[in-house]
Symmetry: C2
Subunit: 409 residues, 2 copies
């Protein structure tokens, strides 16, 4: 009973699924403190200029620049103190010709002034006079109105994932509640007659469910809301009923298929029956993870991942995470890698992409990536690893000593 | 009024603070689905062998390897079918000499068998006889008991941050509740007469509080629980009272100091009065972020960060995040960088570490890092950036075209 399916590349698999998906378009409004790592549901524009008034960037004296031209240690400019710019309020004084007002970093420039002389370049002569020993140009040591952002500027586009500095930037312009995409609801179904819940004793021949936990955490990381839906037996009718029920109140469904060929064949049948367009990909040119199934029921993506925990996790990262981002309408995240030197040869095959778990090892000043070889049934292969090395489609392997980019978990 | 403080390196600053801190030692027990990214409070050992029984890694026939020795296409071995190993239960059959039992991937090996022949290398002759055309070795296509982990093995050390695969691994050995370090409570206090809450209209001369939001999000990312404690005026008595109150029910305190020299001087005084050992560092050899204050009140770290949002964020990442990890007892996280080519010269100075916000730009197959120059008062300098390029202590700058590691936000 050899498996008859036509493998496609990762890129082709994702492209086939992507054309059936669209952003969900559901959003919610959150306070800034709750919005970290959430995805914007709308473009946000600046409602005000930032700063809204000209601010000093130093401690010193607000002056008219022209009054300082030519000033030097030998020939200082003498200015008359006309007051102090208070912090947090608009100054009521006006700086006239030959005058200077004390100002602090962040203070608002008084009317009439156009620049600030740093305190270091001044000398207080008496209660009302300072000497200035260096000239300033118009605008020097001043942030003009709108230098950070101008009213109406696009701050962040829809699809942007909010980072700490973005929340600060929104606070800065007075946006304290933000519209974000609702988390896609991703149902997760384990399957296999041998699979048992992890919180109860298991009988000989049974194994505890690993995949639901790994996949749920990956779904959460990708921005989805995981909905664990239990364990289905290797029985097409029951698996089918559980899959339909799980998909009913979810935006996506992930089935960790049984590990045997017959269990996988059953999963393909069940997934195909969930609705058109049905199965789009059955088999991807990757190792591990080859027997992955990608499908859609309407606009809802459905995944049949291999039951081996390592394969399930890698396939989840490659296919489920991008689909969740598409449902969120999220921009692609940066690739997160760390460069290292490969500690051992890694064989592969052209026409196949390999993902090899590696562990970092510091050797002197260099970081090495040591492959953690292990069967893809062994979850601790990944627990012992720091990341994955990717062997591209067109290479037949990598050599010890090669520089590689390690994709971090 | 030049500032008189002695700057130290980042490493020295962190070392001075670290010697006064210790893990909080408070823990809580969470269900696996809630434990993602939390830090283990105890070493965890495997309570069982994984797998707990010998499992087949393929679909095929469980046999005695000796019965297949010498088998080939021309001279197959003939074996008698003695039954099937069921999924999820211990087989009741025993495989005797010259016998074979049907078995599926993940199934438990029946007594008497020591290996599995893949179905591809067999031929069914009749209801009770198969021919085997390739020999197998003892243990071939079998995961022996404990190959993934052995009972008593150290699974994860105290201080380990739990990743998706780790949760799966714990489920696999039946650990469904985990002891994790409680999140350190980090009080955050903004200060400055000019600083106003972002959710109300501001008067001319006032600026909205940015730092509380940025710092709170960074605290959350580092594993702490941010406790925003409002905005203090530039008044030593009030700032002091608010700082003492904030620290009372917190494990750490971050004050985003006012931006003027006098406001910073006041902050140093207030922080020094919170308790021994007091101020440990006043000034770090970094740009931006130089006037950073590191202190401890007993074992509680206290930070006075520069009020400029860019400085505050960078200093927070450099000093607050490591202290939170120490309070958690967490292992150092992997450095997350992306390699790129620098698009423009970046000047620095030996004896100082610079952190330059950059934006990624794809040029053909190459990623370039384009510096986002901007005053450190401009929060959108960071909002427009994808990461930071670090100029080490011993370099006077970096050149356009240099390969750099960009630290991602």
């Amino acid at each position: 009973m050899p498996e008859l399916f036509q493998v496609v590349t990762i890129a082709e698999a994702n492209a086939r699924l992507a054309q059936h998906l669209a952003p969900l378009g559901r959003s919610e409004t959150l306070a800034l403190h709750e919005a970290l790592d959430r995805v914007l549901a709308e473009d946000l524009h600046a409602p005000v200029d930032l700063p809204a008034f000209p601010r000093s960037t130093v401690d010193g004296f607000a002056v008219r620049a022209a009054d300082t031209y030519g000033a030097s240690e030998g020939l200082p400019a003498y200015l008359t103190l006309c007051g102090e710019a208070p912090m947090g309020r608009a100054p009521t004084i006006t700086v006239g010709g030959g005058q200077a007002a004390l100002i602090h970093t962040g203070g608002m420039l008084p009317a009439g002034s156009d620049s600030v002389v740093m305190v270091e370049y001044t000398q207080r002569l008496d209660a009302t006079t300072i000497e200035v020993v260096r000239p300033v140009a118009v605008g020097e040591n001043v942030i003009p109105v709108g230098e950070d952002v101008r009213q109406g500027d696009l701050l962040f586009s829809r699809g942007h994932r909010l980072r700490p500095q973005d929340l600060g930037g929104l606070a800065g312009v007075g946006i304290t509640r933000v519209p974000v995409a609702a988390r896609p609801r991703v149902a997760i179904l384990a399957s296999g007659d041998e699979v048992a819940p992890p919180d109860a004793p298991v009988a000989p021949g049974q194994v505890r469910d690993v995949n639901t936990y790994t996949i749920a955490a990956l779904v959460r990381r990708a921005g989805g809301e995981p909905l664990p839906r239990g364990i289905a037996p290797d029985d097409a009718a029951t698996l089918g009923a559980m899959a339909r029920a799980a998909l009913e109140d979810a935006d996506a469904l992930v089935i960790a298929a049984g590990s045997s060929v017959s269990a996988r064949d059953m999963t393909v049948g069940v997934i195909g029956a969930l609705g058109a367009p049905g199965v789009l990909v059955h088999g991807v040119a990757i190792q591990p993870g080859k027997p992955t199934i990608l499908a859609a029921a309407g606009q809802r993506p459905v995944f049949g991942l291999p039951g081996n925990p390592v394969s399930a996790m890698i396939a989840s990262g490659l296919f489920v995470a991008p689909a969740i981002r598409q449902l969120l309408g999220a921009a692609a995240p940066p690739v997160i890698t760390r460069r290292a030197r490969l500690a051992r040869n890694v064989p592969s095959r052209t026409g196949r992409e390999d993902f090899v778990p590696v562990r970092f090892e510091q050797r002197g000043a260099e970081v090495w990536a040591d492959p953690v070889f292990g069967k893809s049934n062994l979850i601790y292969t990944l627990a012992r690893a720091d990341g994955l090395v990717h062997v591209p489609l067109d290479l037949s392997g990598l050599y010890a000593g090669d520089e590689v980019e390690v994709h971090l978990f």
